[in-house]
Amino acid sequence: MAIDITVKIAGEAGQGIQTVGDLLSLVCQKAGLYLMGINDFESRIRGGYSFFQLRISDRPVYAPCPEVDLLVALNQKSYDAYHRELTSEGLSLIDIQGEPLANQVAIPIDELAAKAGGKIAANTVAAGACLGLLGAPIQILEGILTDRFQNKPGNVLEMNLSAARLGFDHVRDIGFFKKFKWKMESSKGALIDGSRAIALGALAGDCRIASFYPMSPATGVMTHLVSLADEFPIVVEQAEDEIAAVNIIVGASFAGARAMTSTSGGGFCLMTEGLGLAAITETPIVIVNAQRPGPATGLPTRTAQGDLMFVINASQDEFPRFVLAPGTPAEAFEITIRAFHLSEKYQVPAIILADQTLNDSIYIAEKPLAAPQKVERFIVDDSRMESPSDYRRFAVTESGVSPRALPCNGKALVIATGNEHREDGHTSEVDSDRITMMNKRNAKWPAMLSEMLPPETDHGESDILLVGWGSSKGAIRESADLLRKQGVSVGAVHMTDLWPFPADTVKKILEKCNRFFVVEQNSTAQLGRLIREQTGLAHNGAILKYDGRPFFPSEIVDGLKRYLS
C-alpha cells in the first residue's frame, strides 16, 4: 500500500506558513517522495486564515486530499478552524501552554526559537518538529538549511540548524501513525509550482519581453521571470494597466521579440481589444490568463475554470487563436514553450489558460524539464526575398501564413494596421481585400488544428468517462482510480489543447463510452457546452464545483455517484 500523508500548516497571513511549507517540501523532494501542495489564503496581508496543505506520498500524487494527518496550527484559531479535518489518528502540532488535547502535540515553538537564537527561527522549529513527527532523518533538513543560509552573515545558519534540531528533538519520541521509509532515493523530479513552470517555459520558448499589471493569481509568473531577468535576455516591465501590458507585448513582438503577458479575468477583459490587434496584424503574442472566480473582482486569491468560453470567443469578430490549458506544472512548462512556438509559427495569439490552483500549488514534475536545444524562428529578412522593396507583409499564401519581416531590418518595409488591409499592409475598405484577408487568416485553421495534441486518456475503454481540463487533472484521474477500485468502470479524459478544438479526436474518444461526464470548476459546464458545439455529443451530467477551492478526488467520486444512484 502506498503511504499517503497530508500535512496542513495553518495560521495567519504573515506568519510564515510558506517558509515551513517550503522546507517540508524540499525535504520530501530530496528524499525521493512525491508531493502536491496547495496554498489557500485570503485577499489580505496580515491576519485571517491561511494554510498550505501538503500531500506527500511514495506514489505520484497530483491532487490534494481533504483528510489531514498532521495539522501544524500556528495559532489557536487555526486549530479551531481545521481540527475537524484530522483523521482519527491524526495529530496537531501546536504551541499551547496548558494540557494538550488528545490529538494535540504541544510544542513551545517560540520558546525553542528563542533558545536557538531568535524568534525569527520559529518556522524552522516548526519544520523540524514536523519532520521529527514524520520520522524523517534530520540530515536532509540540515542540508537544505545549510544550502540556504551558509552565505548569510552572522549566526543565521547556526540559529536555523539549532532551531531545526530543537523542534525535531522535541517530538521525536512521539510515534506518528504514518511513516515513510525515508529510503533516501534520488529526487523524483523538479519541485515546482505552475507560476514558475510558466515563467521557465517562457524562457525555454525564448520569450524576450514580458509586460504585466499585477493581479492575483497571475503575478507569480512575472515575479519568477523578474528574478531570472538578470541572467537571461529578457526584459520584464510593469505596465500602467492591462491595456498597456498587452499592447506593449504586441509592439515588442512586431519589433521581433517573442513576448508575453500574464493576467487574470478582469485584466484579460481589458486585453481583449489588444488581442484582436495581434490577430488582425498577425503578430504573435502569448497571454496567460490565470483564472480566479469572478464575476468582476470575485474571489481574488481563489481558483476557478470560468473563462474557457470567454477566451475562445474574446474580442470582436473572428480569428484563429490557440487556447491551451495545462493540468500540471510540467504540462505548463511544455505548453508555454509550445505556445510561443505555435504563436510565432502561425502568427496568431496563443492563450494559456491557467488557474490559481495550478499557479500557486507545488508539485513534483512528472517529467524532466528540458530546455529545447534550439528555438526555431519564423522570420525572414531581405536575404530571403527576391525583391525586398516589393515585400508585402500580408502576402497571400496557401497556408495563410505570410513571410514575416521585421521593421527597420533591411530594405523591406513592414506595414501593418489594425484596420482591414491589402497584402501590402495598407488599410483597405475594398470588399475583395476584406474577403481575401479573412480567408487568408482563416486558412490557418486546418494546420493549426493538426498541431493540437489529442486529449490524454486514462482507461479510455471504460463505460464511463470523466472529462476535464486544467488543474483538476490530478483530482479527476485519481477519482477515476478510486471508482475503478470500487468496481465502477470509469476512465479519465484530460484536455489541454482546447482551441482549435480537436473535434474528431474527441468525438472518437467519447463515442466509445456509454456515458461521459464533464468535471469542471464552473457553474455551467463550459467544456460540456464546447464539446456539444463542436461534436454534437451531449454530456450525461456535470460534476461542478465553484466555491473557489480546488477539487478533491473524493468530491468527484461523490459527484459521480449521485448520478449513478
Binding site: 523538479a190 519541485l191 515546482i192 521557465l200 524562457l203 525555454a204 525564448d206 524576450r208 519581453i209 509586460s211 531570472l228 541572467e231 537571461f232 535576455p233 526584459v235 516591465e237 505596465a239 500602467e240 494597466d241 491595456i243 498597456a244 499592447n247 506593449i248 507585448i249 504586441v250 509592439g251 515588442a252 513582438s253 512586431f254 519589433a255 521581433g256 521579440a257 513576448a259 481589444e273 489588444g274 490587434l277 496584424t281 514534475a365 524532466p368 524539464l369 528540458a370 530546455a371 529545447p372 536545444q373 534550439k374 528555438v375 521585421l406 521593421p407 527597420c408 533591411g410 530594405k411 518595409l413 513592414v414 506595414i415 501593418a416 494596421t417 489594425g418 499592409g425 495598407h426 488599410t427
Partner: protein, 284 residues
C-alpha cells in the same frame, strides 16, 4: 542623401482638402530628409483617427494600431529593439482621450521616441465630437450646449510628469515645425510636440487664420528652454498669444538606458542559451 521625394508613396491620401494634417506630413518628410533618415530606418507608429492615418501617406515602416494605444505599442517595440527610430502620430482624442493613461506613462518612463500630436481639438474621423482639448463652450453635435469640461493641457501635464522635451508646433508653421520635429527626434528621450492643427470639416473655432493671428515662436524671443518654471507658466498661455516652439528641454536617461539594456545590443539580437537555462531547470 535622403530627399523628401524618397518618402513619396502611391497610397491615396484621404484627408479633406485643406486639412492641417498636410502641413504636418510635409514637415515630417522634410525633417526625416534633413536628418538623413531613409524610409527603411524609420518606424512610424500611430493609433486610430485622422492623425493616425499619417504613416500610410508616406513611405516608411509603419504600425497603425488601435485607438489610444500607440504609445504602449511603441514602448514595447522600443524595449525589443532600442535602436529603432520611432515617431508616433496621434490625435488629441487618441492621445489625450482614450490614450490618456499611456500618454502619462510614456512620459514617466521617458521612452525615447518622438510624439507628434495632431491637435485639432476635435474628434475628426468620428465626425466632430468634442475632444479633451476642445475649448469650453465649443458646440458640436454631441455637445449642443457647448463643451463643459476644462480643456486638457498637454504641455502642463507633460511638464508635471517630468518630460524632457516639451514643444508646441503649428501645422501651418512650415519650416519651424520641421525644425521642431528634427529637434524632437534628436532629443534622446521622450519628446512631445503638440501641434495645433486646424480641422476644416469640424472645428470652426480654431481655424488656420485663428491660429495665424495668435501663434508666436518662443525661439525667436530668446526663451530659455532650461527654465522649468517659465515653461510651466507658458504652458498655461492660451488666448490672444499662443506660444510655439520648444518650451522646455532637459536630458535625463531614457527608458531603455534606465533599463540597462542598451549595452549588449538590441534584445531581439541576443542569443538563446539552452545550457544556461538547463542549469536552472535541473536545479529545481
Amino acid at each position: 542623401m535622403v530627399t523628401i521625394q524618397d518618402f513619396d508613396c502611391s497610397y491615396e491620401n484621404n484627408w479633406c482638402p485643406g486639412c492641417g494634417n498636410f502641413g504636418i506630413l510635409s514637415s515630417m518628410k522634410e525633417a526625416f530628409a534633413a536628418l538623413d533618415l531613409p524610409p527603411e530606418k524609420l518606424l512610424l507608429i500611430s493609433g486610430i483617427g485622422q492623425a493616425a492615418k499619417t504613416p500610410h501617406f508616406l513611405k516608411c515602416n509603419l504600425f497603425h494600431t488601435l485607438h489610444g494605444r500607440a504609445l504602449a505599442i511603441a514602448t514595447g517595440a522600443k524595449m525589443a529593439n532600442h535602436e529603432l527610430t520611432i515617431v508616433v502620430n496621434s490625435g488629441d482624442g487618441d492621445c489625450y482621450g482614450e490614450g490618456g493613461n499611456h500618454f502619462m506613462n510614456a512620459i514617466r518612463r521617458n521612452v525615447n521616441l518622438t510624439l507628434l500630436v495632431h491637435n485639432n481639438k476635435v474628434y475628426g474621423l468620428t465626425k466632430g465630437q468634442a475632444s479633451p482639448t476642445s475649448d469650453i463652450g465649443m458646440v458640436t453635435k454631441t455637445q449642443p450646449h457647448g463643451v463643459i469640461a476644462e480643456s486638457f493641457n498637454p504641455l502642463a501635464i507633460a511638464l508635471s510628469l517630468g518630460a524632457g522635451f516639451v514643444a508646441r508646433g503649428f501645422s501651418g508653421g512650415g519650416e519651424q515645425l520641421t525644425r521642431l520635429i528634427q529637434a524632437g527626434m534628436k532629443h534622446q528621450g521622450f519628446s512631445l510636440i503638440d501641434i495645433a492643427q486646424p480641422c476644416v470639416s469640424f472645428n470652426k473655432v480654431n481655424t488656420h487664420s485663428w491660429y495665424k493671428k495668435r501663434v508666436y515662436d518662443l525661439q525667436q524671443e530668446n526663451h530659455r528652454t532650461d527654465d522649468f518654471q517659465k515653461a510651466l507658466e507658458l504652458s498655461f498661455l492660451w488666448g490672444d498669444r499662443i506660444p510655439t516652439g520648444i518650451l522646455y528641454q532637459k536630458k535625463t536617461p531614457s527608458f531603455t538606458e534606465r533599463l540597462g539594456i542598451e549595452k549588449d545590443g538590441p534584445i531581439i539580437r541576443r542569443k538563446y542559451d539552452p545550457l544556461k537555462l538547463q542549469k536552472v531547470l535541473s536545479a529545481l
